[in-house]
Subunit: 161 residues, 2 copies
Amino acid sequence: MVKRTSFEGDACPIARSLDAIGDWWSLLIIREARFGLRRFGQFQNKLGMAKNILSARLRVLVDHGILATAPASDGSAYQEYVLTEKGRGTFPILVALRQWSEEFDDHPEEIATILVDREKGRPVKKLEMRAEDGRLLSPADTMLKPRPAPRRRSAAARSDR
Amino acid sequence: MVKRTSFEGDACPIARSLDAIGDWWSLLIIREARFGLRRFGQFQNKLGMAKNILSARLRVLVDHGILATAPASDGSAYQEYVLTEKGRGTFPILVALRQWSEEFDDHPEEIATILVDREKGRPVKKLEMRAEDGRLLSPADTMLKPRPAPRRRSAAARSDR
DNA sequence: GGCCTATGGTTTTATGATGCAACCACACAA
DNA sequence: TTGTGTGGTTGCATCATAAAACCATAGGCC
């Protein structure tokens, strides 16, 4: 099969997320949904993407439990697409992407918006990774550990990362 | 043209990062590079991807300044691919993806590894977003502000997010 | 040197995904 | 009833991806 090599069975959590939202449009749709867009036409308008692939993406996102369809709020018999808890949980991913762009983009002056603390109106700090006890961790302070086997079932399978 | 709609000119920082690393393989290549892989064959072996597209991806990543080619360390006249500072800067993105998977995946028991604090061996906390003054921020505590115009040049252009 | 194998790719070819335009279905208003 | 706007689906041309074959170079061995 020449298939798009799904990472669904992969043991690596990064591959698994990419399987759900690792394509060109999904994260942008989620971004707009975070801004309150709900209707097919709103997404299509804002993102300027082809309607058929928007349709396909929405369906996949609903299948993955990232969006849910609601029976329309304004009376009209159409659907609305709203973020689920899982969908809202992508927020740190979006922030990480944004901050990476802000820090390393070759033309940061072209970036139109900055993410600020609503109360003070000041830019937020870079995402921080901390240990359980609160110590700030750098990448080098971390490592990967094999998952403690979930009780029996000899975990010999794919030892992928 | 039917082209892959590049987001390069877009004003949204998320779209801009997706333009560089938003495809199926790039982040996985970066992940492996973080683990110390450097050679073409190592990537090909570990990721099991077709050699031609590995070749293409590596080239794009080098073009974007995420990887750099080094003239081989073991004598052989081949190249090695090492992460640049920009490449290492993707770490929070990888962590965010990993944590999203850990939290929302339908089959979290299939995830093989956990990210731990090297010193204590305990799982790291979820990524935290803080204000300049150190307050912990939830998504709702943040908002987007238009970028303060970088001195002259009437910023009327694409007011995309 | 001649032969084998490993490494690091490029080329070829088939198929899936994307983008655009056209079309259909439904609701609502004039 | 005709029009108009919304919410999609269908067809088709083009692009990207995947798999395998092919090529080039280097090193080991005789």
